[in-house]
């Protein structure tokens, strides 16, 4: 099967965003551990979105609110399904395309945070845009607390079928059913391997 994009543009390390001090984020690593368990174990009765094992870290969330950089760090290392390269180095995810709207009142347990991630596919007709988008959405939904509403969209004017892809990615029922599809799940697991290594 011919690759969609045989010559992707790869960004060098100096072009990528860095943080002066990569602070050791305890809750992030424990969530990564939970994600790794979920992705590697047989999901017979577990709901993919069940975050019950990481509920004890909830108390940390109100102390250290999550910012765009952390969200970016969660998705930057995801591998492209076609190339052994990260979405970050392919320029598919960019820090400036990660948007976070936090509620004013963080003490309100019902307050929702909104995350919007815009993806830039490597080519305008990339047929794997939906899979990449699904990978980003799943990664964030599993790693972020349940009060975060995740929206993943293809960046405007970067893809010929952006509207169709966006509608699929925003349909929770379609996403839920896709996650019960073993073939798709194995592709996603491969993509996520680079996140927890």
């Amino acid at each position: 099967m011919a690759l969609d994009n045989e010559n992707p543009l790869i960004l060098s390390a100096s072009e990528l965003p860095t943080r002066k001090q990569r602070r050791k984020n305890k809750e992030l690593s424990s969530k990564q551990h939970a994600v790794k368990d979920m992705l590697s174990s047989k999901l017979c009765s577990a709901d993919p979105f069940d975050l019950s094992d990481s509920s004890d870290t909830d108390s940390n969330d109100s102390v250290e609110p999550i910012d765009e950089m952390e969200i970016y760090d969660l998705i930057a290392p995801i591998s492209d399904p076609e190339h052994p390269l990260s979405l970050e180095s392919l320029g598919v995810v960019k820090l400036q395309d990660v948007h976070l709207v936090s509620p004013n009142d963080l003490t309100n347990p019902a307050a929702l945070s909104r995350v919007l991630v815009e993806l830039t596919p490597t080519v305008s007709h990339c047929s794997l845009a939906t899979v990449i988008g699904l990978g980003v959405r799943v990664r964030l939904e599993q790693a972020l607390p349940p009060s975060y509403r995740v929206e993943v969209k293809i960046k405007k004017d970067t893809h010929s079928q952006a509207d169709e892809v966006n509608k699929q990615l925003s349909d929770k029922e379609r996403v839920a059913a896709a996650l019960e599809n073993e073939n798709l799940m194995s592709i996603l697991r491969t993509m996520m391997k680079t996140c927890t290594e």
């Binding site: 709901d47 349940p146 349909d171 059913a177």
Partner: protein
Amino acid sequence: RAWVSIPNPNGLPLIATATSDKTVRVYSLRNFTLHSMLEGGHSRSVRSVAWQPAVKNTGTLCLATGSFDATMGIWRRREERFADNEDSDNDDDWEFAIVLEGHDSEVKNVAYSPSGQWLASCSRDKSIWIWEEIGDEGDDEFETVAVLQEHTADVKCVSWRKDDGNGEILASGSYDDTIRFFKGDDEGEWSCISTLEGHAGTVWSLDWEPEVSQKQIPRLLSSSADCTIRVWSKTWECTATLPTAHDLPIYSVSWGKKTGRVVSTGGDGKIVIYEERTKGRTSVGGAIEREWVIVGVLAGGHGPYEINHVTWCTRFDSGKTADGEEMIVTTGDDGVVRAWAL
């Protein structure tokens, strides 16, 4: 997560909840404890469940389930004197009687027609199937009466309208943003009789007006990913849009039988209640204007989790103050089903 909770329509104090753990749990509405479970019939999430309307007093409960595994199940359970039975240990369990295959992808919704004659199912494969049980009671034979393929994308929900003398009409809501009506003619040929456009996003949920006087035609309520709830009537146009309260897709609406109030819920985790009020006449001798107003909003009913389903439900518990009093039951991504009183 839990997807939907459907109260028994035959007056029994039971409610059935379909969940992503491939089972359906039936709860008692008298004391809110687990009554029974339907398991082993599906290989993926159960997305939808429907009680068969009681036509004859056969002492059998019957449920239809719709699953992401693209099949439907018909389940039966013998129930002799339900009212005296608080302890379910002696009862027979649910028997997985038949599996109905036909859809190419996930079944999203199943619904029996009010008369119990037909069972409708809809799927991501864009089609709606109408099934009829043939043969004698307990033969477990189903026939596919129609396969309706007018929608251009996944069909998310189906809802039957009571027979008004012209037959039972089936309404469907779809990922293609439209609502369609289907009816069978005298020869048993089903066709699409109307297409309702107006929503700017997937139509997630439908509900018909429950109580109308003889001459009136029930109106249809729809909720969508475009964050609006619309009322459709007369020649099937959108005659009202409820005031905006949600900022994320509205997964479910329910029109209350006792109060005429509407309750909605969705991705933003809010439970919103609306009421229709008389505004007064706009001109002398003119028609009485009515408008919808929001009478209550509850945010975070299931904490930060999305709420997938909401329904009005008759109360049977000891806290009820009147016969036929209704409460609200919500079903959420936290896997929890909650009952609310106003």
